[in-house]
């Protein structure tokens, strides 16, 4: 939660400064953002690859846990594409790209803002922050009505870190490892799926 507030603060400072033209024009260059994105993705890769926890978790699980991140992927993409039918000014592709953020708002918004449009980037930022907040607040209720995978499912990519404590608290320690596994798989899938949806659909 604290992390998302800091990120929102950086976004807000940029936003307000942008509205009042407070920044020099070199900050607005496409190239700067592109290179920063290259560096970020390379670093995120290193961070995931060097996570020993990930490989430890993999050894302890049986095959059917792959169903959990798959559930989140299918559920999020189908859910958002159905919503796009109801909203007049967003198409299926855009809606699915936002849904493929799986709560990973920082990366998905940056990615979508760069590959598609800033407007969709902002939608991804807000939508995926909402997803994290809903998870933090609603896990107890969701678990009660939708079973023990519900918290991991709403948490999406955040189930491995920010929302893990609430998930474990309301579904039990034995589901903690499934939550971490699902979160890691989804974190890796965010850039891959967002790209595939925006480039090939």
């Amino acid at each position: 939660m604290k992390g998302s507030l800091i990120i929102l603060a950086f976004f807000a400072v940029g936003l307000v400064g942008g509205i009042y033209d407070a920044f020099p024009s070199w900050l607005l260059s496409e190239d700067l953002t592109t290179y920063a994105l290259f560096i970020l993705m390379f670093l995120v890769g290193i961070s995931i690859g060097s996570d020993k926890n990930a490989f430890y978790v993999l050894r302890k699980l049986n095959f059917k846990v792959i169903l959990v991140p798959l559930t989140v992927v299918v559920g999020s993409l189908v859910g958002t594409s159905l919503i796009s039918i109801l909203l007049s000014d967003i198409n299926v592709k855009e809606a699915m790209a936002v849904g493929a953020g799986f709560g990973y708002y920082s990366l998905s918004s940056i990615f979508i803002g760069q590959l598609h449009s800033q407007e969709l980037g902002v939608i991804a930022l807000l939508s995926n922050i909402f997803r994290e907040i809903i998870t933090l607040l609603a896990v107890p209720v969701l678990v009660k009505y939708f079973g023990k995978l519900a918290g991991i499912a709403t948490g999406g990519a955040t189930a491995m870190d920010t929302t893990l404590p609430v998930i474990v608290k309301f579904t039990g320690k034995d589901y903690g490892i499934i939550a971490i596994f699902s979160g890691i798989v989804l974190t890796i899938l965010v850039p891959v799926l967002v790209t595939m949806i925006l480039e090939f659909m």
Binding site: S50, N128, P191
Partner: protein
């Protein structure tokens, strides 16, 4: 093009990360570098949104769309999670 470079760098990063998995200090450094690049990029996204009048003037509509997309993603995931849980994860003593 950008997207392919990004995915390639991501994949190379995962490989390099795997080789670095025992270098505790370097890992910490990488993690804080990730945090600061995220701050930088969100700050830059903020600026480009701020100078874009079309987005600023439609902010409430953008929030509205974001809310409903979240709703769709959450409901879709949770409903499917219920089915998957019933069929594959629920054990007899959890009835």
């Amino acid at each position: 093009m950008t997207s392919y470079i990004v995915i390639a760098l991501f994949a190379v990063g995962i490989g390099i990360g795997w080789l670095m998995r025992d270098k505790e200090k370097a890992r910490k450094g990488v993690d804080s570098a990730v945090t600061w690049s995220v701050y930088l990029l969100l700050f830059l996204l903020g600026i480009s949104v701020g100078i874009n009048d079309e987005i600023i003037n439609n902010f409430s509509r953008i929030g509205y769309k974001a809310f409903w997309l979240t709703f769709g993603a959450v409901v879709g995931s949770v409903l499917l999670a219920k089915v998957v849980y019933q069929f594959f994860f629920k054990t007899g003593n959890e009835e």
